[in-house]
Symmetry: C2
Subunit: 458 residues, 2 copies
Amino acid sequence: MKNTFLLLCLFIVAHTIAQTNDEATIRKIYDESLERGKSYSMLEYLTTRIGERLSGSPGAAKAVLWAKQTMEDSGFDSVWLQPVMVPHWVRGQKETGTIRPSKGKPMNVNVCALGGSVGTGPTGLEAQVIEVKKLTDLVELGEKHIKGKIVFFNRPMDPKFISTFDAYSGANDQRHDGPTEAAKYGAVGAIVRSMGSNIETYPHTGSTEYKSGFPKIPAVAISTLHADWLSKALGDDKQLKFYMESHCEILEDAPSFNVVGEIKGSEFPEEIILVGGHLDSWDLAQGAHDDGTGCVQSIEVLRIFNAMGYKPKRTIRCVLFMNEENGLAGGNKYAELAKTNKEKNIAAIESDAGGFTPRGFTIGAKTPAIVKAYINSWKHLLEPYGLTDFSQSGAGADIEPLEAQGTTVISFLPDSQRYFKYHHTAEDTFDKVDKRELELGAASIAALVYLIDRNGLK
Amino acid sequence: MKNTFLLLCLFIVAHTIAQTNDEATIRKIYDESLERGKSYSMLEYLTTRIGERLSGSPGAAKAVLWAKQTMEDSGFDSVWLQPVMVPHWVRGQKETGTIRPSKGKPMNVNVCALGGSVGTGPTGLEAQVIEVKKLTDLVELGEKHIKGKIVFFNRPMDPKFISTFDAYSGANDQRHDGPTEAAKYGAVGAIVRSMGSNIETYPHTGSTEYKSGFPKIPAVAISTLHADWLSKALGDDKQLKFYMESHCEILEDAPSFNVVGEIKGSEFPEEIILVGGHLDSWDLAQGAHDDGTGCVQSIEVLRIFNAMGYKPKRTIRCVLFMNEENGLAGGNKYAELAKTNKEKNIAAIESDAGGFTPRGFTIGAKTPAIVKAYINSWKHLLEPYGLTDFSQSGAGADIEPLEAQGTTVISFLPDSQRYFKYHHTAEDTFDKVDKRELELGAASIAALVYLIDRNGLK
């Protein structure tokens, strides 16, 4: 009885010490990021000196070199490149779109080609327009009303969703599948209302995917404001025509790289905790929130540990994936190599939802309940930093392929309200990122990595 | 036994229905704000058409008329003005500040007079500078080192605080009390490092308070970037002089108004639930986040109820206070009249921390534990909307005087990270407000008002 009591006391003391240590270490992580952080200056370089970096582009190649150098300069134990072949799509000259009414003056509107789209070439494409709100409208209308026309997908993101990602998911089929679905019924082109949460003058690009067996038709996004104009013009004049011109091309696949760096674990070096973002970005701007912030936060996690003199028990690995935007070649390649090399990636955390104020983490849907509960048992340590939401399922596209290998996949969850103002547009620039919000995000991810490193994942 | 069982069943059914009704009504409140909200267009008018509105200024007078008209147009049952005398301070022409080294070229820096400060007049003020980090440094230095000099208060806001309001509280004594404390030791002027969370080129104004019995010395804020420059220059050259010129004046108190409007309660009209912000703003910009957003959110709460056809049981009153920034005359007047008229303000909710993404509410420190617990029992209804933080104490300056009358005072708590980039600066303009963030805030306040209206406060 006496012994049991003594053991219990010892256990309580040990537990209290561990708890106090965790609190103190997490506080130090935030202090390092907020007082001496490098994420903001790294982001400035990546976005304003390198800028756009779509897969296969000169910017992407520069970004790979920058990332490797930056990891080496941050004192990582080892840094290497993982070769991967990526799709190579180029936008060519600027795109144009014009509403040409039956009578009266034509009106230019702001459009941009969808990623992966074929171009119209210099002769452009002119045709009548048919507006739809959802893909199933195409079935109802049939070839009779669609053939030879441009289909205009015009369902807005629903503002009633609290998370703008839910609104995006609810509208995105139009961009991703709309053009190819329209082609099935003989459409000659597609215009898609931009996936933007606000009424704006600038368009949002993003991938469209052609299905084999159907014609590849040129597809553009139109700004939300101009989508409203076009819809109104069509209401007044069903015979109006739309002229679109785009010069994009799908070139041969190109060689590129994931950039990988790590700090070796001192006790369980074979257990890898991955933290990452994607290095490629759309070509209209600087790829600041998508996903420059995720890249610099991931590098910063390891830099913070080094700066604090924290020696992880497990291997902490930073992976900057190539080609998230239009192919996922980098994410798939990483998972393939992990399988071949029998690596044990116990957890993978991606930051790819913008550099906004931290709100929590989402956890992969296939994660066992016991692991979810274990992660949730750390909540009280993270809540003082505004990390309160651990309830949502899901994880980023780059780390999803690891889930099949038993990796616990997690995504950093920042506030979502402003993301779809900038996402895939010419507005996704460095000045849209708040320094403190970015730094809090880096510290939040580092805090979770620290807890996984200390405790494992059951 | 049978009866007890039946009663229990009835209670459970009634409770479930109430819960479902609450959920549905709160959802409708958010839908109204996000789909058909008017807060953003109201804010656009107030900030870009009226703009700066410091107490006693023509802008403040215009804002009073606008607020009255807007409440009337929004279908409030009654709208009236509460006369109040307010301090009337004017900035005059633009201020200047120049570092004049012993040798070499002078360097202009960005300064602005502190609110309530006396000016230097056209001859300006030139003197040597002594830098301090805290008020107690003055005691140590004494008259010997301070007399005839300009005291430069240069303690930054501490970036390690997660809430920037805590960092502000930790630095603000320099601005509020620094000049008058320096005057006690014979200082002839004061320069205060701006209360800004970032390194910026523009200064932050705000009130300073002179104590009677000591000379009123001219006081300016210097931008955080230029504070760093001045500190460095002083390190190299202790003999350098600083030239400052300001033309501000304290005029006679002026007549102004609180603007009050309400929807009468159907069951307990004598019980008032107040929702408010402050109508006055500093004069350097448009008073967007401080506190245009709080004003339009408060009006929007009542407009949402009207638009939904919701008839409150208690009286819902919107109060736009005058003179929060430099005197609190409006808040004090409202509380004084409430007392005289024996009004029963059961709750007062202020929005005066910016129009950013909602995080929760703070509750007045003197609130009985039972009331705090009761408010917390609604948390599960608000958490789906990102309102997770109900743990902090405190409430806004305008409603604090009501606390002594037994009112439960509550402040809307939005995300704080960007507030002190804009607070009291020329950057506090309409374009810094995100439409969705603003609308979510209005809905969050309306949801809490609804719950208090339905349930009372114990």
